[in-house]
Amino acid sequence: MISLGLEGTAHTAGVSIVEKIDGKCNVLSNVSSMYRPVRGGIHPREAANHHADVFPGLIEKAIEEANVDFSEIDIIGFSIGPGLGPCLRTTATAARTLAIMHDKPIIGVNHCIAHLEIGRAITGCHDPVLLYASGGNTQIIAFLEGKYRIFGETLDIGIGNCLDKFGREAGISFPAGPEIEKIAKNGRKYVELPYSVKGMDVSFSGILTAALHALKEHSIEDICYSLQETCFSMLAEVTERAMAHTEKDEVLLGGGVASNKRLQDIIKTMAEERGAKFFVPPRQYLVDNGAMIAWTAILMYESGYRMGIEETAIKQNFRTDEVEITWR
């Protein structure tokens, strides 16, 4: 089965063609374009306009790179939520257009679950606890009793959002994560920041405020270092709690922030200390991408999911545990 997937929940528009062959995920093409604001953060409408501009070209490119004809594509998948309303609507419109024009079945995919499924498919882990760390989302997800459940999550802003907002105030351009990672390498001194773990949940807004205050008295290198160490240790702690709780021995990373090498190190060390296995897919499958949507759409379709066009309304606040998991 061959699927074309459209991703567009936030700043990235992605298109990919994926084939399921002998039960394996074979990515035939995976192209994307990221909206970069001139200054400040993501403006949802601007990002949606960007997606509308680039989708036609991306779709053509994906088809060309995959070297398939549209007639060979079996289904159209798209990110139905959660995400920024204008971006989701643009993406859904593109998907509906393709589905109607070419008379193909359409499947709306939960973005968070897609991160987990592509991670499983690419790294070969079976039943992991996923630490999904991106700009807008920070969740610990695992499969339990028929559903992907959230065992911990941020109570306010996403980890990437925290880093980006810090970067914006500190004069680092969007997205700030990669630059903060570089600067942090030269940090030497740990500056105390609030460590905010509440049960299985985390909170980042207080740390952000404290880090910005601390910037007046300490070097940016030390603050970037302390910010990373504090936030990532919190993530490791709640991930470990979820692993202990669910008795799972695999941990998987997903989301753009998961491409941070220091975060990878921290989670890997945590896993090793408790005798668990650590998995991280290559960067192109960590960040938002069309392949994860195309692949999850196949899993859904093959296990019986069907959607009429009228059922493809976007779900801005789509929760991970709302999805009926028919393929596991």
């Binding site: 339990l144 009793e145 459940r149 959230i150 065992f151 740990y190 105390e192 460590y195 049960g199 299985m200 160490e229 504090t230 240790s233 490791a236 702690e237 470990e240 709690r241 692993m243 202990a244 709780h245 669910t246 190190d265 921290i266 989670i267 060390t269 945590m270 200390e273 545990d321």
Partner: protein, 207 residues
């Protein structure tokens, strides 16, 4: 020393101290954290847990007696409550005894909450029954708060434990009966619990 449990952040040992049988809770070093952060967290939590236990005791709730706090090893040495976990025996009790114990639990939680103490992990594994008397253990996720939200979350966890694992809705009703009788804010907290249920986000497996 015999390890009886290894959690995500602490190891629990059974040992003897000055001729008494004791439990030692040791917060373990985490290699993934930098040293400064690791020591700060372990020290803070060891202290906080001990303080909460001492305050709970002062509030009239039965908890293990603390014998010693070791700040270097991040250990709390406490009384070994030689009883049975509520989880393991509740099904075997008759209805009168179930009601009595549940009301007693409600009363104890009311006393904690009245004094600004949130246990943070009230499950049937963390309630020990010794000679018919209930004891609360493991204040490791506890905190100080006088907010109805925190109180509601605290009770909601027990509700899930009773309703899911023990599949008996009367149990929690009895708990709330004892709670409301002993805490003037009981009705407000009960409404908060209903709100939390509607939010539907605390989806946790109940052991």
């Amino acid at each position: 020393m015999e390890m009886i449990k290894k959690g995500a952040e602490a190891e629990i040992y059974l040992s003897t101290w000055m001729g008494r049988r004791v439990v030692i809770k040791r917060r373990i070093r985490k290699g993934y954290r930098i040293k400064e952060l690791d020591e700060k967290i372990r020290k803070q939590r060891t202290r906080r847990e001990a303080i909460l236990m001492a305050e709970a005791r002062k509030a009239g709730v039965a908890v293990p007696i603390i014998y010693e706090i070791n700040n270097f090893e991040m250990e709390i040495v406490m009384e070994y409550v030689d009883g049975e976990r509520l989880k393991d025996i509740i099904e075997k009790l008759d209805d009168n005894e179930k009601r009595r114990i549940c009301q007693e639990i409600g009363k104890s939680i009311a006393m904690l909450h009245k004094n600004g103490i949130i246990h943070g992990d009230i499950t049937t594994s963390n309630i020990i029954l010794r000679d018919g008397k209930i004891h609360f253990i493991d204040f490791g996720l506890g905190m100080k708060s006088a907010e109805n939200e925190a109180r509601g979350v605290d009770l909601h966890l027990l509700m899930e434990a009773f309703n899911a694992a023990h599949a008996d809705e009367r149990l929690f009703r009895w708990v709330m009966g004892g709670y409301k009788k002993n805490f003037e804010k009981g009705n407000e907290v009960e409404r908060k619990i209903e709100e939390i249920v509607r939010r539907g986000r605390y989806m946790r497996r109940v052991e």
